[in-house]
């Protein structure tokens, strides 16, 4: 069985989704989803271990060798992300039972879990495959299920958010398909590693440049790089809290992964930096995104939207890391992928707990909750501190590596800008702290109790992870460094 882990990683959640339809009772389905996600997590850990020990794993689906068949290829980079996605999925599901019971209509709850598992399948599939068209198929699986998840929010604005995401997401996917088609025209293959070998002969052609352009734009739509981020704030704000948490912690990260794959494993870093002014574009867009989004976050009255904008800003940091174009920069980005997932998951779960108790995500309504829901609020604050980059949290580790990478490249003005942007984060986090602890309650919250244990446990698991990985960075930094090294080594 171990030899088949790569495919089982994806096929188990894939099969589990339809099973949900048979088990009608939401509680049962929720439990089942949790077990499946846990199984996926277990497999991903096994895979990571194997890859670190023995090097990349290649699995030929259908027994057909690539490029005639579809290959699953696990190396340090995607093993790392597989662990992240499946871990996030499992932790979030612990809180799901109670949260969903409140936020999603009863007759839809089974579908929620089904769509959730399908989304997980899609994401894991994108990560594991080495075939560019296969990426598209699983991208659409995760996309369609995301639209479904978002649309289950209780506010009617969830519907428009989902529709907007559908339009933008499909445009992005179509761009990716155009890019794939153009690459195919020039090389005749769809396998990533085969492409890497055959593309250099045709590097100089306009078609390949064009292909690259389309792929990048398509992927940037999915990862919400400024200014293509328009779908994200609404989607995160109006989706059910569990959906927001899951999506915030995973889907944009997977899109960043795809970007990294395109740049490093397929096109090769030399081509990328010489053909288009990618470094400059990413630098400008990344920085603009960071500032525009952080400033936007300060003014938000809906706390979910606030943190949605914060996510856009954080993605800006990741793109900045890529813009640097060095191994250090890539390490910083990979590190931040992991850390940001931890931070945002904790924050959104905490918000979810509040929504569970008081039914609203308006900042005003959070007033005075510091006393009523101490543990939840403390978690929220911890997450916020992590976002700012306070030492002892994972946020600090990411920022540190990013700044080091910037200085190493000689871009010290940018490093200064990064530090300034952290101050912006201080502003919006402080606002929240003010409302939670130092303001009189605006609504009657006497009956508000602390969040249920089933939600507190995952929240605090994540917070502790935030702190633990902020102090003991061997695992995260180690793996990121390994992955970055191998990506730089692979390129031509």
């Amino acid at each position: 069985m171990t030899a088949h882990y790569p495919i089982l990683q994806v096929v188990i959640p894939l099969l589990a989704a339809p099973v949900c339809l048979f088990l009608r009772i939401p509680r049962l389905v929720g439990l089942f989803a949790f077990l499946v996600s846990g199984a996926a997590f277990f497999i991903s850990c096994m895979l990571l271990q194997q890859v670190i020990a023995d090097g990349p794993i290649s699995y030929h689906i259908g027994g057909w060798p690539p490029p005639w068949g579809i290959e699953y290829r696990i190396d340090t980079l995607n093993a790392y992300l597989l662990v992240l996605v499946s871990a996030m999925s499992t932790v979030v599901l612990i809180a799901a039972q109670t949260s969903i019971a409140k936020e999603v209509r009863e007759d839809r709850q089974t579908f929620f879990y089904t769509a959730y598992l399908l989304c997980l399948t899609g994401l894991l599939g994108i990560l594991s495959t080495a075939d560019v068209f296969n990426v598209f198929v699983f991208l659409e699986i995760s996309a369609l299920s995301s639209y479904t998840l978002i649309a289950m929010g209780s506010d009617r604005r969830a519907l428009t958010a989902s529709y907007q995401y559908l339009i933008m997401g499909t445009i992005g996917a179509t761009f990716i398909i155009i890019g794939v088609g153009l690459m195919y025209v020039m090389t005749g293959t769809l396998n990533m590693y085969d492409l890497a070998q055959r593309l250099p002969e045709v590097y100089h052609t306009k078609t390949v440049h064009c292909a690259f352009g389309f792929l990048i734009v398509g992927v940037c739509l999915k990862l919400a790089l400024f200014p293509l981020h328009l779908w994200l704030p609404n989607a995160y704000a109006y989706a059910p809290s569990i959906a927001t948490t899951f999506l915030a912690a995973t889907s944009t990260k997977v899109a960043v992964y795809l970007l990294i794959r395109y740049i490093f494993s397929i096109f090769g870093i030399t081509f990328v930096t010489t053909s288009l002014p990618i470094e400059e574009i990413f630098l400008i867009l990344g920085l603009t995104g960071i500032f525009a989004a952080s400033i936007s976050a300060i003014y938000r009255l809906n706390i979910k939207r606030l943190f949605a904008y914060s996510s856009v800003a954080q993605i800006g940091y990741m793109i900045l890391g890529l813009a640097i174009g060095t191994q250090l920069g890539l390490t910083a980005t990979l590190l931040h992928l992991f850390n940001h997932a931890l931070m945002k998951a904790a924050i959104f779960l905490a918000i979810g707990a509040v929504v569970y108790r008081i039914g609203s995500a308006q900042l005003i309504h959070f007033a005075g909750l510091g006393r009523k829901m101490p543990w939840t609020m403390a978690a929220l604050v911890a997450g916020g501190l992590s976002l700012i980059g306070v030492p002892l949290t994972v946020g600090f580790v990411s920022k540190w590596y990013l700044v080091v990478a910037l200085l190493d490249k000689g871009w010290w003005p940018v490093a200064v800008l990064v530090l300034i942007s952290s101050l912006l984060a201080v502003v919006y986090v402080w606002r929240i702290i003010e409302w939670i602890y130092f303001t009189q309650p605006r609504i009657i919250i006497d009956n508000v109790k602390e969040a249920p244990l089933s939600q507190l446990i995952p929240i605090w698991l994540l917070v502790l992870a935030n702190i633990y990985f902020g102090v003991d960075t061997r695992l995260t930094v180690g793996v990121s460094k390994l992955a970055a090294q191998s990506l730089f080594g692979v390129n031509l």
């Binding site: 027994g63 769509a115 479904t148």
Partner: protein, 316 residues
């Protein structure tokens, strides 16, 4: 041509009809370009199901779009920029129809030359779809399933609506005697054709998707003429939902069996004593899975949309 007309029209019904025509034209074009499988699918899916769904939606939304004073400037700018980039990109592409283009030299030759030996199925498209790239097709079935889940969750039918609408066949339909009689003859033929396409897909254009869609079309025709509740007596809700899942199971299940029998996932070679027979069996089963899920999802989606129209009628 048709596409530009669509841009200009305000009457959504016309837009939908035009898009149906556009699909049919595309299908014809695909045929000319040597792609009968694709033509088949585009015709049934694009011109058929898609138009149906749009029409069903139109029953529920206003028919005319508002002439709004949108500023086309930015949109035009973006579009033109994209177009310019694309045209720039095509300048280096191999010319249309050339036989020595990279795509024909690299991966494809094996499919064309060796697949008869390795798989033994004359329709090369089927052998690539169902075997060499069978995993993509599994993904595709999951996409169909996901869409089904989405529509099921979005367009839930409450028990109340079901009670309100003991849908009698709409009166005007009852008068269409000719239609009903002809339909009674045609529908079984359509269903049989669907089965033919399903199982003969190895030898001629066809296969699971097309078959599923045609089957669904037959049932939908029946529903339109004889009423929703009659159709639902045969195709109960729960049954349909389970069938959508069943197709996926079948497909993935075959993959798992391959695992247990010693091969890789979806490696049909190991299913039987000799690889070619194994391939045949594998392909047969997975195409069946595809057909079942596609048919049931399509029918289910149509039912959901129709129930919504009925519900609207009774709430007004």
């Amino acid at each position: 041509m048709t596409a530009i007309a669509i841009t200009r029209m305000g009457d959504l019904f016309a837009v939908v009809m035009l898009s149906g025509i556009y699909s049919l034209l595309s299908a014809a074009l695909f045929l000319v370009l040597d792609a009968p499988d694709v033509a088949f699918t585009e015709a049934s899916v694009g011109a058929g199901i898609s138009t149906l769904l749009f029409l069903a939606t139109l029953k529920l939304v206003p028919r005319y779009d508002k002439k709004s004073r949108y500023k086309p400037g930015l949109a035009l700018g973006v579009v033109v920029a994209t177009g310019a980039l694309l045209i720039y990109g095509t300048l280096d592409m191999p010319h249309f129809g050339k036989v020595d283009a990279p795509v024909h030299e690299h991966v494809a030759p094996r499919y064309l030359n060796d697949s008869l030996e390795e798989i033994g199925v004359p329709n090369f498209v089927t052998s690539v779809l169902a075997s060499y790239r069978g995993f993509d097709t599994l993904g595709e079935v999951v996409v169909v399933f996901t869409a089904g889940i989405g529509v099921m969750s979005l367009l839930r039918i409450s028990r109340q609506a079901k009670k309100d609408a003991k849908a009698k066949t709409p009166p005007d339909m009852q008068q269409q005697v000719i239609l009903r009689v002809v339909a009674k003859i045609m529908i079984p033929l359509i269903l049989i054709f669907a089965l033919y396409v399903q199982f003969h897909g190895d030898y001629s254009p066809g296969g699971g998707f097309q078959a599923g869609v045609i089957f669904a079309a037959g049932i939908i025709l029946y529903t339109m003429l004889f009423g929703l509740s009659t159709a639902q007596k045969v195709f109960k809700h729960k049954v349909l939902e389970i069938l959508t899942a069943f197709g996926v199971f079948l497909y993935a299940g075959v993959g798992f069996v391959c695992l247990f029998m010693g091969g890789n996932f979806l490696d049909y070679d190991v299913l039987r004593h000799d690889p070619v027979h194994g391939q045949h069996l594998g392909i047969l089963l997975i195409e069946l899975g595809v057909g079942i899920t596609v048919a049931s999802v399509m029918i289910l989606i149509f039912f959901k949309f129709t129930w919504r129209t009925v519900k609207h009628k009774y709430n007004q």
